[in-house]
Amino acid sequence: MSRRGKNTQIKAQPVPAWRRRMVVAVLGISAVLVAGRAFHLQVIDRDFLTREGAKRQVRTVTLPGHRAAIRDRRGEPLALSAPVDSLWCVPTELLGAPEHLAALAKVLKQSPRKLTGFLRERGKRQFVYLERGMSPDEARRALAIKAPGVFSIREYRRYYPAGEVAGQLVGFTDVDGKGQEGMELAHDSSLRGIAGSRHVIRDARGRIVEDTEEAVPSQPGQDLNLSIDLRLQYLAYRELKNTVSRHRAKGGLVVVADARTGELLAIASQPGFNPNNVSDRRPGRMRNRPIVDSFEPGSAVKPLLVAQAVETGAYGLQSLIDTGDGWMQVGRLTVQDIHAQGKTDLRMILAKSSNVGAAKIGLHMGAESVWQGYQRFGLGERVNTGFPGESSPLMRHFTKWGEIATATASYGYGLSLNGLHLVRAYAGLANDGLMPELRLLAKQPIGLGRQAVSAKTARVVRQMLESVAEEGGTGTQAAIPGYRVAGKTGTVRKVAVTGGYDAKRHQSVFVGMVPADNPRLVGLVMVDEPTVGGYYGGVVAAPIFSAVMQGALRLLQIAPDDCGVDCAQPSTLPQIAMPAGMRADMEPRS
């Protein structure tokens, strides 16, 4: 300005008004433009820009909801989910780096040539699994090679630590972790976890810097505690498996239940399968026979008949029944005994398992009374354990029974049950007539049970059943040293394919309770079609009962009730020094 002033020597003139207006106008327009742009960005484009920004920064992270564990009553795991890593690659990238490929093949325990061939075959794909279900450590080693185009993803695999021992009961899940069989299926919805998600803001380096508000927390599944005691389950499994193979039988089952609470402590079934091994999952092996299969109970229902006879007063302890020379004609049916008994009482009918005696009692009481007796013990109702595929009992109404049906029903033919029906009915006898609901879950509220027969009747029948395992009974091999056993054998002919009964195919049954005086445990053993070494229930099934129950009594520390001269009356707090004393209480470990 001053220079211009010097050069031109012109006296400063007043600025023309248009210049000022011009400046104001330019500034005004710019201001409007800026404000307009700001308005556009802030108001009109706002949603679009927010979205775009979020696309670049906000990421959704899924929070895995883990499937819960299945445990036994003491907290031992029966089914657990554990993380595994699956290794995948882009074949073209990996093939481009042969030295990495060789190192990787070593970790994967494959020959480099084979791996190359494998990848060449799948060269066009963008995603090829190298190995699935690796342990995280192995996967980490494989990733440490830093081979190009090799990645891992986290997956969860279900493990069954007990394996075959509790296979049918626990069941298994499919590849996606959905319950397919057994308790995994029955309680799928509570075991399954619900995956959550959260939206996070990541910075340029991929670190999570902020959580946005819309997060859905994941919900892990709830652990399931079964009523099973794995120690007893293993014992039952082992004894059953040995017996089935020793007698070359088709299969078998063992059930042990707590007589007072109705909790099922062991449910073993053969043939078995290992749920960890997918190829082992074959239909015949996965069946949980005690719950799913129905069979005719045979002689095992005779004590229930006798209970009804005593309860209704049709027969008493002193009543004598004439079984003649061991056979009896009812219409077209010939009822036969193995040994003729002549005149005998209820106790001996049970001890010797006389069919003629049972048929006579049944015919004398009449169809309605027999039917009612079985109904009392729940033979006509489902057990409702909640196990998938539980079979329903089959017993026709007494109005449809003729004389023959009444006679056969009296010794256990013409009706079909599953194993748990027998266990429940015998738990009724064991628990002084109060029949508990059977349960598969621990911590389930104890149901109210039902008074099947009076306590007096139950005690009388129990005392009679003791003679089964005593000298002269059919089940002497069920005896357990130190304990009094009450039980009943059964040898059931199976229905032949041609109709009628097969003389060569049998089911050997033993069902009983210990200690007889005040039973704590009820056990059922059934061996299906033993072919070698006898087929009578007292020969095949009773020894398993003895072995399993002896172990169970020891593990659960149940005091002996028959110690001869060595032990005094059991009323004074029995403290028993057990050999190989194990501290085994019923409380969960943790």
């Binding site: 883990h66 031992e76 795991p77 657990l80 989910s81 554990a82 993380p83 342990s135 995280p136 493990y159 630590p161 007990a162 394996g163 021992v165 670190r207 999570i208 810097v209 902020e210 959580d211 794995l230 120690r231 293993y234 082992r238 040293p481 130190g482 002896q550 172990g551 020891r554 002996p560 110690c563 060595d566 032990c567 005094a568 004074t572 707090l573 029995p574 403290q575 028993i576 020094a577 057990m578 050999p579 190989a580």
Partner: protein, 119 residues
């Protein structure tokens, strides 16, 4: 007497005073905007500090979360390992074959008197 009533009165009095001051003495009225500017600056800085702290803590939580995930993984693996090692079949074969043990099948039961019981 009533703290709320007192506080309210005090606030009303102050507002009146500020009004009077601004009306009567323009130079001293400059104080209020200055104070407000200072407060705005302070709160802005504080907001930055808080934001930074929150990011730092988010990072920390993230690390803790990863750690938890890792520990859970380890826990389930250890449980599996324990179950495999404690499998009854394994224990049994070790007891029977290696240690030559057997289950008590025949035994005599002795009852101790209550007094001589060893806890």
């Amino acid at each position: 007497m009533n703290p709320f009533r007192d506080g309210f009165d005090w606030a009303q009095r102050s507002i009146r005073r500020i009004r009077l001051e601004t009306a009567d003495a323009p130079p001293s009225g400059l104080m209020l905007p200055l104070i407000l500017v200072a407060l705005v600056m302070a709160s802005a800085l504080y907001a930055i500090a808080i934001k930074h702290e929150s990011r730092r803590m988010t990072g920390e939580m993230e690390r803790a979360r990863v750690e938890r995930e890792k520990l859970q993984m380890e826990w389930s693996q250890l449980q599996l390992e324990e179950a495999a090692l404690a499998h009854h079949a394994r224990i049994e074969s070790a007891a029977r074959d290696q240690l030559g043990m057997s289950e008590p099948r025949e035994y005599v039961i002795l009852q101790q008197a209550a007094a001589s019981r060893v806890p």
